[in-house]
Each structure stands twice: as structure tokens, then as C-alpha cells.
């Protein structure tokens, strides 16, 4: 945990996770890139609209009986609406939690910079190798980054289009996200609302 000040408005900034790459100032909504030298302004964007959500930045509680803390979220807009990808600490480990139209998925396994086939040729129902894992693509879609809030493990500038794949592999839900610069794969499981207990 380290304490700094927002490079834009001077508000106090407290980084709780050492892996966080971007912090969104809660006062002025400036996106601040976390570097060894301090906080660099990446841009200033509007605050995210408030939609009903199980979490807020700073929420604590348990997921599947394990303690968690919600650190921040990225919001994506797609044809069916929007979804939030929460960066959380779960039992001391990094994890990601997506909230999509009232459905929840917990991703605990992250595979960064994986090698996968050309996204344009991939279709629903196709098998692809992601790293050493064989996954079956359930859906391919496009989304646009709307913005962020709190601490972010990944950072994609608002307005950037991402291609995502929803897939399954070895009994797990798999999500693959493509941006211009990298490809990440998450593996996890769906959650029921009752699996999530938020304190307060």
C-alpha cells in the first residue's frame, strides 16, 4: 500500500494492490498511470454512470466464503448492454469478477500475453488452442471501453474497441480479451448471487 496525491487535483491517492497499473481519481476522474516514479496522467474522462451493482469500490465481504476486497472496475459497452469487470483481491490473491446484466462470473486464473489464432477467423463453436489449453469458443463479440474506477490491473483507454471471446475449457468459463496491444485469458466459474456476501 502506498499513499500519493493525484497529479491533476492533488487529492490523496491510496494504492492498495501492488499490481495495480492505473488508478482513477475518485475526485476528478483523472486516470493516473502508476509507475515507479509516481502517478502519470493518462487522461481525464467522465465518471462512470451509477448502475445497480453488487459492489462499490472498497466493498468487502466474502465470495464462496473467502474474504474479498473490490479495488476497481472497467466498464465495457456491447450490443446487449454493458458489463463491469471488477479487479478484486480474493483471499490475498488477484482475481476478476464480471457483472453482466445481473449474472456473475469469478475469474481466478489469468494467462497473460497468450498466443492465439487470428481473431477474425474465429467462429462460435470452434476449438482454439490458447497457450496449451484447448478451448471451445461460445461467443465472439465486440465491446467498447466506457471507463474505469478505482485501481485497475489492466488499463485500456476509454473509447477503445476490444474483441472478446466467451469460451469453455475443462469445466471452466473462459474469457479472452483482445486489445491492440495484448491478449489476456481468464478462466473461472459462474457465481450465484448467494455466493457473494458484501459487508455493510
Amino acid at each position: 500500500m502506498s499513499s500519493m496525491n493525484c497529479s491533476s487535483c492533488g487529492a490523496p491517492v491510496e494504492i492498495k494492490n501492488r499490481f495495480s497499473k492505473v488508478f482513477v481519481c475518485g475526485y476528478c476522474s483523472t486516470h493516473l498511470k502508476v509507475s515507479e516514479s509516481g502517478l502519470d496522467i493518462a487522461g481525464k474522462y467522465p465518471k462512470l454512470a451509477e448502475f445497480p451493482s453488487v459492489f462499490q469500490v472498497g466493498s468487502r465481504g466474502t465470495i464462496l466464503g473467502k474474504p474479498f476486497a473490490a479495488l476497481g472496475r472497467m466498464r465495457y459497452k456491447y450490443q446487449g448492454g454493458h458489463y463491469d469487470e471488477w479487479f478484486i483481491e480474493l483471499d490475498g490473491e488477484n482475481a476478476w469478477f464480471t457483472e453482466d446484466e445481473g449474472t456473475f462470473t469469478l475469474y481466478t486464473d489469468l494467462y497473460e500475453a497468450v498466443d492465439i489464432p487470428d481473431i477474425t477467423s474465429i467462429k462460435a463453436g470452434q476449438n482454439i488452442m490458447v497457450g496449451d489449453k484447448k478451448v471451445m469458443v461460445k461467443e465472439k463479440g465486440h465491446a467498447v471501453v466506457e471507463g474505469g474506477e478505482g485501481e485497475l490491473y489492466f488499463y485500456v483507454e476509454p473509447g477503445t474497441e476490444v474483441v472478446y471471446l466467451d469460451a469453455v475449457s475443462e469445466g471452466k468459463k473462459v474469457s479472452v480479451e483482445y486489445t491492440e496491444n495484448e491478449v489476456e485469458m481468464f478462466a473461472g466459474r459462474p457465481l450465484l448471487k448467494r455466493d457473494i456476501v458484501v459487508e455493510g
Binding site: 450490443q79 446487449g80 449474472t103 462460435a124 463453436g125 461460445k138 461467443e139 469453455v168 471452466k172 457465481l191
Partner: protein, 468 residues
């Protein structure tokens, strides 16, 4: 904007010329049916382009034919309830039509959202309800094999897939469907559970489900108006089930009685023990030419009981003289000894007098016989489009009820196109236990059983279809 509004706004226009589309039909020769069949198609009134059931336009045009009963369902949008401890709200509905069917063959997928934040699907088809939710398989491979899908070690033949087309969309749905949108579906069972894989161009959906009763749904969603109707329907069906069981038992009882009766036929002894031959192959000229006539009187013999069912069989004894490409007609008369005695004024042993009586039997003012059979035996051959054929009919049997017991004679009159040995036609009389009556009663019970069985499944006071 709801999906339903979108459907309303979509104009039914020809993709080629923009003309209006209307319902039409097309006739063609079907190789499988081996006849000309007429199928419905959507047709452009301007350029005459046809849209069959493999196109979205077809479903736009025929949607009303496939959704006229959309309100005959147990579910309604907005229903809230608690099923197996979880709260659900019905938020949307899709109706699909099977693409390969010209007749209406639809099912509804009701989309519900649970308090747990999970989309849930209640599928209502042919009066059956299944509850489905997303499933993540341990392994699935839809493309490695051209002919099958591997699903957790189970092979599902791709040929078992069928295409469903959306014909109705209403409420809130996780995506924006289009009327006519196609989904390839595979339904299968594994370890006693139902699974469905639905594949569109953009998405694969895998769900696992189980059957639910209408009672569970009515209770869960507290659909009060249907509770009594459901209870009455179940009660009536149960009563029909019991009826069908009773009829089944009655059928079995009839079968047992019938089998017992078949084994219990009692032959009347000595019916052919003595005979008098009045005429033996005498040539007779009739309108069709010359035939041979024989007259034989058999008896007397005892018929042991009156007012009973008897069976008589008359047949050609092929061992005595085969019937070979010829015909033989017979008249069989059962004559009571007392009647013959009256007619012969007590001279029943006068063979010449009896011969005269039977010679003129058809001129008697009152019938002499107690029972009569007239029949033909024949043996023929020929050729037709299937080639050579050879057929014959060499026996005849029937049941009759004889009122009085006593001594009887059988008068047998034979006509043939060739001379025939009078011993070549034999007969037997037996007292029957009446198995045929039991068979008739069996079929009556069978029909009653069938009706009860059908009603035990189909009786319904509810305003929607409900299977067992």
C-alpha cells in the same frame, strides 16, 4: 424498445425488389412421398420471388399462423415465484418453429431471471415443461468430427440436430432477436439429465435441464386461477387411469376365458358314422352347362344339449380326392329326426322315400332343416402382373346355436364340374364354449381401455396443453 416493437416495425418486403410479401403455396413432386405435394411459401406480389421455410421472410409472413395460440401457456410475462427455494421472474419469451415442419411445430422458451442473478429458461413444448440453465461441460468438441459432437465423452450425432426459427419474441431478452433467426439445436440425455446445445452464427449456448410438472409451476408462481383446474384435471386423469386398469384386467380375463374355451371344444361323436347316398354324381344340366350332383344323408347322431353354441366345419379331404383346378359347391342341412319322421309319416328308414323328400326339399312349404350352410370350394391358377398364382379355398366353418337337443341328420348336397368321390367332402360338429364371444368382449374392453388410456393422458380442464 422491446423486441416485440421491433417485430411490429419490420416491414414485410421482398429482399430483391422491395415488393410486398404475401402468403402463397407451391406444388412440386416429392420423390419420397411419390406424389405431388403443396407447400406454403411467402411470395412477392411484384417479382413473384418465393421464400420458403429456410428463409427469414417466410417466418415474417407466416408468424401469425405460428403464434395464434401464444396465450395458451402456463407462463406469462412478469410472473414471479419461488421454485425450489429460488425466486424467479419471467422477463421474456421466444417462440421457435421447427424449420423442417410445414405444419405448426413450436415451442416456447421463457426467459427468467433468478434472485441469484442467473438466467433461467423454462421450455414449454407439447404440454411439457423443462427447466434449463447454463452448463459448463468438462469437455466439448463440436468440430473435430464431421458427424458428431463430443460432449463429456458422449457422442451426439450431428444428423440429430434440427433448426428452430424464432417466430415470436417479447419482453426483455438477453439479446435482440430477429423474427426468422435460425438456431441449430441438439437435444440429448446424459446420466438421466436433459441437455441442449443451441448454436447460431454468433453463439453457442449449452444448457442442462430437468422436467417440471405443471403443478410445480402453478404452485411456484402462485397461479391461483389454475390450481383448482389443475387439481380437477389430475383427479380425472387418475380416475381414467384406474378405469383403464380395470378394462385391462377385464381384457386379460377375456383372453384367459377365450383360451380356456378354445381348449374346451367338445366334438359331437359319430356324425359321419352312417350314411345313405341318394344320388352319386348324376349329371344335371343347368344354365351354365352340365354339372354333377350328389346327395348324401348322414346320421342319425345325438346332439347332446339344446340352446348351446355349436361349430360346424365342412372341408375337402384332399387325401381322399384332391380338388385340382375345379370347383365344388355344397349345401349342408342339419335336420331334426322328429321333423323328418313327421314328414315321412314314420317311414324314416325308407331310403327311397327319404330320397324323394330331399329331391323336392325346396318345394316344401316349411323348411325341413334346423340349420343350413351353402358354400363353395375351389382351386384355381392363373397369371397376372406378378406372375403365376395358384389359390384354393377348401374349408368352411361357422358357429350356430341349436335350440333343441336330440337326434339329427345331416343332408349334404354336392355340385361339381367334375365327378367327385362323395367321401371327399367331410364335416365335423363340435359343441363350442364360445371363445369368439370372449374375443368380441375382449375387443369391446380393448376399445374402452384405449379410450380411458387416451383420456388419462389428454383430459384437461386447463386452458393450455398439459402432458402427463
Amino acid at each position: 424498445m422491446g423486441a416485440d416493437d421491433k417485430k411490429e416495425l419490420k416491414a414485410l418486403k421482398c429482399a430483391k425488389c422491395g415488393g410486398d410479401l404475401v402468403k402463397g403455396s407451391r406444388s412440386h413432386y416429392d420423390d419420397e412421398e411419390e406424389e405431388t405435394v403443396t407447400i406454403p411459401v411467402a411470395r412477392c406480389i411484384q417479382c413473384n420471388t418465393e421464400y420458403d421455410q429456410h428463409t427469414s421472410e417466410y417466418y415474417e409472413v407466416f408468424a401469425d399462423d405460428l403464434t395464434y395460440d401464444k396465450d395458451s401457456t402456463v407462463f406469462k410475462l412478469g410472473l414471479k415465484g419461488k421454485l425450489k427455494g429460488i425466486e424467479y421472474e419471467i422477463i421474456g419469451r421466444l417462440r421457435y418453429q421447427e424449420e423442417e415442419e410445414y405444419e405448426k411445430s413450436t415451442w416456447d422458451e421463457w426467459v427468467a431471471v433468478s434472485e441469484d442473478g442467473v438466467f433461467h429458461y423454462f421450455v414449454e413444448e407439447d404440454g411439457r415443461i423443462d427447466s434449463y440453465e447454463e452448463y459448463i461441460p468438462e469437455s466439448i468438441d463440436m468440430e473435430s468430427s464431421g458427424s458428431s459432437i463430443e460432449f463429456e465423452g458422449k457422442k451426439i450425432k450431428k444428423s440429430e440436430g434440427y433448426i428452430g426459427r424464432i417466430v415470436l419474441a417479447e419482453g426483455e431478452l438477453p439479446w435482440t432477436p430477429e423474427i426468422g433467426e435460425a438456431t441449430l439445436c441438439y437435444d440429448f440425455k446424459k446420466d438421466g439429465l436433459n441437455y441442449t446445445i443451441e448454436k447460431t452464427d454468433d453463439e453457442v449456448s449449452i444448457t442442462k435441464g430437468e422436467k417440471l410438472s405443471h403443478g410445480e409451476i402453478i404452485d411456484a408462481f402462485n397461479i391461483g386461477g389454475y390450481k383448482d383446474l389443475y387439481a380437477n384435471t389430475l383427479k380425472k386423469r387418475k380416475s381414467f387411469r384406474w378405469e383403464s386398469r380395470i378394462y385391462l384386467a377385464a381384457m386379460l380375463f377375456c383372453l384367459i376365458l377365450s383360451a380356456y374355451s378354445c381348449l374346451g371344444d367338445k366334438p359331437v361323436p359319430g356324425v359321419m358314422n352312417s350314411k345313405s347316398i341318394f344320388m352319386n354324381n348324376s349329371p344335371v344340366n343347368d344354365a351354365e352347362g352340365s354339372v354333377y350332383e350328389s346327395q348324401i344323408l348322414y346320421g342319425p347322431f345325438d346332439i347332446p344339449e339344446g340352446d348351446k353354441l355349436y361349430n360346424v366345419s365342412v372341408q375337402v379331404n384332399q387325401q381322399v380326392e384332391p380338388l385340382n383346378l375345379e370347383w365344388l359347391s355344397f349345401r349342408f342341412m342339419l335336420v331334426g329326426e322328429s321333423r323328418l319322421n313327421d314328414l315321412s309319416e314314420g317311414k324314416i328308414n325308407d331310403s327311397a322315400l327319404l330320397g324323394d323328400i330331399f329331391e323336392n326339399i325346396d318345394a316344401l312349404p316349411e323348411p325341413l332343416e334346423s340349420y343350413v350352410i351353402i358354400g363353395d370350394f375351389w382351386d384355381e391358377e392363373g397369371r397376372d402382373s406378378d406372375g403365376y398364382w395358384h389359390e384354393s379355398d377348401l374349408s368352411y366353418d361357422t358357429d350356430f346355436v341349436l335350440d333343441d337337443a336330440g337326434k339329427y341328420y345331416v343332408y349334404l348336397e354336392l355340385f361339381s364340374n367334375n365327378k367327385k368321390d362323395v367321401n371327399s367332402v367331410v364335416f365335423a360338429i363340435s359343441q363350442s364354449k364360445g371363445y369368439r364371444y370372449y374375443i368380441v368382449i375382449f375387443f369391446v374392453f380393448f376399445i374402452l381401455w384405449g379410450v380411458s388410456k387416451i383420456r388419462s393422458r389428454s383430459y384437461n380442464e386447463l386452458p393450455f396443453e398439459m402432458s402427463e
